[in-house]
């Protein structure tokens, strides 16, 4: 493949080469029996030049431009328009979709110093009202779906190089302190090449899926990978999939999709919700790469999905566990295409001690799923002790550190954080230069990467990054009687569960702790789109803090699992309750004394 100076240059070349070939197909509502909206390469190129000319005319080349779109082809045109203009795209979820509010986007506008917002005409009035209310008076709002906005013939090639920024990816950082990963044109070109190498995608690969466009996996995997390859991608909105998961499989079957991915929960949804009747006549045999990343990959899900959909042509080798993040543009490791996912049983106690051993007869074991291998051309991966910063040998758990041409230069305007996260040095190997600290824990064995947990307190559920601080502040805002809280996740073997512990001033709250707890659950379920099956309301002083006042979530999690958190009122998910009861019993057995507080009294 020819070398390109920028992703903009690549899209220009693809448009010349491909002309009337479809770049994207979009199905807004349903798949079977529906006619897709088509966007040929030539039309994408023309629309993007139009938008780019407007941005250039407005002096927005080199500035940040916020993209607030629902799922659809207008987003793609605007994104490529930014690339063509030499502007820095900032994709974000359109507020009001799925409980997202303008609060988070306001934080992004401030942090990124956005110069303009591109959106659809139907959303422009509310966007303008929001910009005015927040005092962003110098931020222009432009709807791009009502005919031309500029003059495509007046567009000028910005002559970008690989070092220029292509976009800021705001999936990291809490609502209060959003962090935008600076992805350059060079990073993008490098990672798209890495994805193609790892997956075996070619210009004949049909790509498709339902992932949100503002999320790295959807943007890099389902929109920019097809452009890089010069192929076609067929897309449906996330809501269409969530309402009826069978539509994902229909999409693969009807359009002969070869490559499509999603977080583990999406495969799980298919197993649980696709009915026999919906499967009739579906043929999944074209599917060659089913990327499974962005949250922990579950062996049970891989087995169940392969078993359930095998009779409809789904092959075990198609399942493609992989590992990556916005900070590395997207993909770091992937499963070699010559075989299926590697499952490895290990001794559970050994793993807790940070070593891959066993499995031993009669001892509890855990099944790890390999996230595959890094290709030497693209990435180097090391496991490093997060305290001593010393490299760990094969078979020892530590923090995953990576480097390569896909690794972003850092977060937008965060020099201190960047020095720590993107400029880390391995002790005794300082001469090797800078590494990215991923904050994920893992272990290497025979070149395969097994992700075992997280160093950071961030929680990954339903493909979302949940920041405990965001949940805790939202909960505190519900009722003045609610005090400090600790939010964390526990793993019941098959699933991650959010656990919410908050202090409550019972006198101020009155007797109705039950309805306060339900209100908390309702709020988290709606606003964060994750189940909050377990809420504990505790006496003031129960939530542990450091001397500097920092919430000790890891300690609270440990105490919770030992059954050592006493609640005034609690509601526990049954599987979480079982986990606590068995862990508490084990701890009691080990100590030779009863647990301090034999689990919380189940309520409700």
């Amino acid at each position: 493949m020819a070398e390109f100076g920028s992703f903009a240059e690549l899209v220009l070349t693809r448009s010349d080469e491909r002309g009337d070939k479809d770049a994207f197909l979009f199905l807004a509502d349903g798949v079977r029996g529906k006619e897709p909206e088509r966007l040929p390469y030539r039309n994408l190129d023309r629309a993007a030049k139009d938008i780019a000319s407007w941005l250039q005319e407005r002096g927005l080349a080199g500035r940040q431009v916020l993209l607030l779109y629902p799922s659809g082809l207008d987003f793609v045109k605007a994104f490529v328009g930014c690339l063509y203009a030499g502007a820095v795209a900032v994709p974000a979820p359109l507020p009001s979709e799925q409980g997202q509010h303008f609060r988070r986007v306001s934080g992004i506008v401030r942090d990124a110093r956005v110069g303009a917002v591109l959106t659809l005409a139907e959303h422009a009035p509310e966007v303008e009202a929001w910009l005015a209310a927040e005092g962003f008076s110098d931020v222009a709002c432009m709807p791009t779906d009502q005919g031309t906005v500029g003059d495509a013939d007046a567009w000028r090639d910005p002559a970008l190089g690989p070092e220029h920024l292509a976009f800021l990816q705001y999936t990291s950082g809490s609502t209060s302190a959003p962090k935008g990963v600076m992805v350059s044109h060079g990073n993008l070109l490098a990672n798209e090449a890495a994805i193609a190498r790892s997956t075996g995608n070619t210009p004949d690969t049909m790509i498709g899926g339902w992932l949100p466009f503002y999320h790295d996996m959807g943007l890099i995997g389902h929109i920019l990978q097809p452009l890089w390859l010069g192929t076609t991608s067929v897309l449906i909105p996330p809501v269409s999939f969530l309402r009826k998961p069978a539509r994902w499989l229909e999409l693969v079957s009807e359009y002969g999709v070869h490559a499509s991915g999603g977080p583990n929960f999406a495969y799980d949804l298919c197993v649980r919700r696709v009915t026999d009747a919906q499967l009739e006549g579906l043929d999944l045999s074209t599917w060659r790469t089913a990327c499974n990343g962005a949250e922990p990959v579950r062996a049970e899900t891989l087995r169940a999905f392969t078993e359930r959909f095998g009779p409809h042509g789904f092959r075990a080798e198609t399942m493609f566990p992989c590992y990556g993040m916005a900070e590395t543009t997207l993909l770091v490791t992937g499963t070699p295409k010559t075989r299926g996912a590697l499952l490895r049983e290990v001794d559970a106690a050994g793993l807790e001690q940070g070593t891959l051993t066993g499995p031993f007869l009669g001892a509890p074991r855990r099944t790890l799923v390999s996230s595959g291998v890094a290709l030497a051309e693209d990435f180097e991966v090391r496991i490093v002790d997060p305290e001593t910063l010393a490299e760990q040998p094969d078979g020892r758990v530590g923090e995953i550190w990576v480097r390569g041409a896909s690794v972003a230069s850092g977060y937008w305007e965060r020099p201190e954080v960047n020095a720590e996260i993107f400029g880390a040095r391995i002790a005794g190997q300082e001469e090797l230069g800078a590494w990215l600290r991923t904050g994920d824990m893992g272990v290497l064995g025979g070149g395969e990467l097994f992700v075992t947990g997280r160093l950071k307190e961030m929680v990954l559920i339903n493909g979302r990054n949940i920041y405990p601080y965001d949940v805790e502040s939202a909960v505190r805002g519900l009722n003045p009687a609610i005090g400090a809280g600790a939010v964390f996740a526990v793993d019941t073997g098959g699933q991650e569960h959010l656990v919410v512990i908050h202090e409550i001033r019972a006198a101020a709250a009155g007797d109705d702790l039950k309805s306060i707890a339900t209100g908390i659950q309702r709020h988290i379920g709606m606003e964060f789109a994750v189940p909050a099956g377990s809420v504990l309301l505790v006496r003031p002083g129960t939530v542990r803090r450091t001397t500097s006042g920092k919430i000790q979530r890891t300690l609270m999690r440990k105490l919770f699992l030992q059954g050592a958190v006493t609640a005034l009122h609690s509601v526990l998910d049954p599987s979480v309750r079982t986990l606590v009861e068995s862990a508490a019993a084990e701890a009691a057995g080990a100590a030779g004394t009863p647990a301090t507080d034999p689990a919380m009294a189940p309520v409700g």
Partner: protein, 102 residues
């Protein structure tokens, strides 16, 4: 493992929907999304208490659309927060649909 669809023919005839029949259908679906058993789902306990989230709420709307041909906004699960309330709302909506068709 297989997921049998509920009997579509029976569901499309809007004659026999009652709060009881729909409550049992709802409890089955909600148990599935939230990885519980249907017997755990009490008709009068707020769904939030079982950990209902917006993905599950969308799932529910999708299944209602699939089985009853009734398109609802995902906010319905928050506006009618228990199985009993939701079943009552569905009976009304389905009744209106049946009426329109006559």
């Amino acid at each position: 493992m297989s997921v049998p669809a509920t009997d579509r023919t029976a569901n499309n005839e809007h004659t026999a929907h009652t709060v009881e029949s729909l409550s049992s259908w709802l409890a089955d679906r909600i148990a599935l999304y939230l990885k519980r058993t249907p017997s755990e789902i009490s008709p009068t306990v707020p769904l939030a208490e079982y950990g209902l989230d917006s993905v599950a709420a969308l799932s529910l709307c999708g299944d209602i659309e699939e089985d009853f041909d009734l398109v609802l906004e995902p906010t319905v699960a928050w506006d009618y927060p228990t199985v009993e309330a939701l079943a009552g709302h569905l009976v009304e909506e389905l009744g209106e649909m049946g009426g329109e068709n006559r």
